[in-house]
Amino acid sequence: MTARGAAWAFSWGLLASAGALAQGAADARRSGFDSMSPRIQAMQRDDQQNPGMLWVADGEALWTKVAGTSASCAHCHGDAGQTMRGVAARYPDWDKIDRRPVNLAQRINLCRTRHQQVPPLPPESAELLGLEAYVGHQSRGMPLTPSPAKELDAPREHGHRQWEQRIGQLNLSCALCHDQLPGRVLGGATIPQGHVNGYPTYRLEWQGLGSLQRRIRNCVIGVRAEPPAFHSDEMVELELYLTQRSAGLKVETPAVRP
């Protein structure tokens, strides 16, 4: 069995043990892509029409741009088409130095501070989203394969608990809508299953590209709760659980969503 095959088997084992999405879930799970109108689907499919590709193109330029006085991303990582293939499908992953889980954006910033000796990019900045989209784009079409690192089990479980926790003045949990009522309509919009296979995503509502954390904050503000800060531990834990929940769905970065 190849290393990737092993990671696969492992992730499915976890899924089954989590029990949340066990039997028949693999068939019932649908990418948000499937519930979009044909016009928006066409927009995502066509790289000349998909506005997310503007960020990917920015990221490609940044990849080879020397940051500060040291090196560019390409200096160490070479051709992203080869070295970054499948990387985004695995994140969030465990950082051995800081001993905590980090998402792709945080990994990019860690690379900047540790190796390039330049300040981290602010969350949701055009540069960070560009790099994230460019790296994510290299995994397009590959199944989400959560990192098998053992250390991630506990934070992932925290994320799962947050997912089920009722919050805010509306006293709703993520699970109430996205596990129990997907496909139903809330305020004129179809409730999606909440899969995370297309981030960073171009949302027509935002008129721009945004990260998964921006999307989560949207929902949290929607139920009138205090949203966690970008790149906070809670956010990454929730991301970890969500990646597990969407494991196996194909990466669509940069996806287009209504």
């Binding site: 790289d47 000349q48 029409q49 506005p51 590709m53 503007l54 193109a57 027509l204």
Partner: protein, 106 residues
């Protein structure tokens, strides 16, 4: 400079009708929205898009605040001969961008 993505076939037969697609990064700020501080953000939009085929105007459009961010245009033209297509976007705050793409017609 804003980034633009332009797509057209690199080669075409004479008389063939080809599709041209152009997407540009632009915020298209309407002038009606308030920022985080509650103040109205000044309007900043692209006002005109045009495409010239060897100097001859083949497509143009006026844009208004209701047009979404990152405007996208797709149109068809008849490939008459080899030449260059010049795309121009002009707008508020002196925004001007020109991109040129060549097409080979056999």
């Amino acid at each position: 400079m804003a980034r633009a993505l332009i797509h057209l076939p690199a080669a075409a037969r004479k008389g063939e009708v080809v599709e041209v697609r152009a997407l540009i990064a632009h915020a298209m700020e309407t002038g009606y929205r308030a920022g985080a501080d509650g103040r109205i953000l000044p309007r900043d939009i692209i006002r005109r898009f045009s495409c010239r085929y060897d100097g001859e105007l083949v497509f143009s459009a006026d844009l208004y605040p209701a047009v979404s961010a990152n405007p996208y245009f797709a149109f068809f033209l008849t490939a008459d001969g080899s030449g260059s297509l010049t795309f121009t976007w002009e707008g508020d705050n002196g925004f001007a961008q020109t991109e040129t793409v060549t097409i080979t017609v056999s």
